[in-house]
């Protein structure tokens, strides 16, 4: 029986090669305005490709 359930792939490493296009939403433009919520944002490239 497995003891470890892995929820996702190595997303950070995978994003390193193609990231940094700068087209995604700025974090304070979403809902926070007082804390930094970079991790809650989406990737513009992924959203575009899924359309």
């Amino acid at each position: 029986m497995g003891h470890i359930k892995t929820l996702n792939s190595a997303v950070l490493k995978e994003s390193a090669s193609e990231g940094g296009c700068g087209e995604c939403q700025t974090s304070c433009q979403s809902a926070c305005k007082t804390s930094c919520t970079v991790g809650n944002q989406g990737c513009e490239r992924v959203q575009k490709e899924s359309k």
Partner: protein, 455 residues
């Protein structure tokens, strides 16, 4: 680096540098916590001995096989390989692509915790002229280089007090889109007092996102969000905010509250907003100097952590049982499709890709710096004049902040709010401690939700 924690009966392991999240049993949790990388092919006798009171050698070896396989696959105990990616190569500053446009330094509410000084931002009350607003759009386009997606947030004070200029700005920016190959996305942040059928229709037709301010339960909201006459604002705005949310099909908006030392039981406020019928919710901690009565201080953290965990359990239950589901911004982490690691390491972009513009046309690194003259970086008429501050902020990332070096949450906060660091610690590279602690708990809760919500 690995971060392991237990929450509400779940054992969770985050492999910080790969971003992998592992939902594990107690045996795997204990074995992982006993290990120190790099991992050897064979498990040492020391580890077997250390865990022998609780587990047999066969059990430990079995789980070690799984751990070793994940480690070899780069999903556990992975190394930091990102530092070189964000080292400035040629000193060039990034294009400006997002703007907080303060169309009104005036407000029709008098909220006690307002960082904008009830809208005036330590200055005089003022509305932005059309000339300044259109000049700000020109500045944004001229400084955006090859960035296509440009963002403007109509902010204040209360932007609906200057809605004519908001509309002129939208119209002008739209007219530039084709010529310059740009795509504008507008957001408006409002307290809702002046919302009516006409401006809601306009907002729905033109705004990509709407942020609606409401703090939660009536007594909590009305204690701090007061009218100019001193009364509460809950009854004044609730129906309008709900109408706004419904009219957007419960999407592309947030009802956004602030919690303070007055409502350390803020989970009740988040659930109140959800139970009112708001689907997209965001409730943020107030950040204030310790001498303010409403300020969140270190002594409040244990209570706040309990609240986050309680909220996470109920949030996951509602998702699992599909019972009055809602979305809470702090818990929204897309494990497979989040932002790239470069964005995560670089932070919010204040002063670089993001700027704030005042009614007078002064440019600051972000809305929170507005009114702090030492942080002014230019004005609409003359453009950027203080490159020193921009360069300093551009060089600010998770590798320039000592406290981020061993922090598991750095890929989720990007090193935290530089304004809070600058304002409360006098150094943009020294993050605000209470904010950091809350951020870490938020991330843990978000990961817990991913493990506990079911598929």
């Amino acid at each position: 680096m690995v971060h392991s924690f237990e929450m509400n009966g779940k054992y969770i392991v985050l492999d910080v540098y790969s971003g992998c999240v592992h939902d594990v049993d107690k045996l795997a949790f204990d074995v992982m916590n006993a290990l120190t990388p790099p991992l050897a092919e064979e498990l040492s006798d020391d580890i077997l001995q250390k865990l022998s009171a609780e587990y047999s050698a066969d059990e430990i070896r079995e789980v070690y096989t799984e751990i070793l396989a994940l480690s070899r696959a780069g999903q556990l105990f992975s190394e930091d390989t990102y530092k070189e990616m964000i080292l400035p190569s040629d000193g060039e500053l990034p294009p400006v692509k997002a703007m907080c446009l303060h169309v009104a330094h005036d407000c029709n509410l008098r909220c006690k915790y307002c960082f904008a000084d009830d809208g005036a931002y330590q200055g005089s009350r003022a509305l932005m002229s059309e000339e300044i607003a259109l000049g700000a759009v020109d500045f944004l386009v001229a400084n955006s280089a090859n960035r296509r997606n440009l963002e403007i947030d109509f902010f204040g004070g209360e932007p609906l007090m200057n809605f004519g200029v908001v509309k002129k700005t939208v119209e002008y920016a739209r007219a530039l889109e084709k010529k310059f190959d740009k795509n504008f996305r507008f957001t408006i942040t409002t307290n809702g007092v002046l919302l009516n059928d006409e401006n809601m229709k306009y907002i729905n037709e033109n705004m990509h996102n709407v942020v609606l301010s409401l703090d939660g339960r009536k007594d909590v909201n009305d204690r701090v969000r007061k009218t100019a006459g001193g009364g509460g604002s809950y009854d004044l705005v609730l129906k309008k905010l709900l109408t706004m949310a419904e009219s957007r099909n419960q999407d592309n908006y947030y009802v956004r509250g602030t919690y303070t030392a007055y409502n350390l039981d803020f989970a009740a406020d988040v659930l109140h907003l959800a139970d009112l019928g708001f689907v997209q919710t965001s409730v943020e901690p107030a950040v204030a100097a310790d001498d303010k009565e409403y300020a969140l201080r270190e002594e409040h953290l244990p209570r706040l952590f309990d609240e986050y965990e309680r909220l996470a359990a109920e949030y996951a239950r509602r998702m699992r049982e599909k019972d009055d589901e809602f979305r809470f911004f702090h818990f929204m982490i897309d494990l497979e499709q989040g932002p790239c690691v470069i964005k995560r390491l670089s932070g919010c972009g204040a002063g670089c890709e993001y700027v704030a513009v005042t009614p007078e046309g002064d440019i600051y690194p972000c809305h929170q710096f507005v009114g702090m003259i030492e942080y002014k970086i230019g004005d609409i008429e003359n453009g950027i004049q203080n490159e020193e501050i921009r360069t300093k902020l551009n060089g600010c990332n998770v590798y320039t902040k000592d406290v981020c070096s061993d922090c598991f949450a750095k890929f989720y906060c990007g090193g935290g709010c530089v304004a809070n660091a600058g304002i409360y610690n006098g150094d943009v590279n020294v993050p605000h401690k209470v904010s950091c602690e809350l951020q870490k708990k938020r991330v843990e809760c978000a990961l817990y939700v991913e493990c506990a919500r079911g598929s």
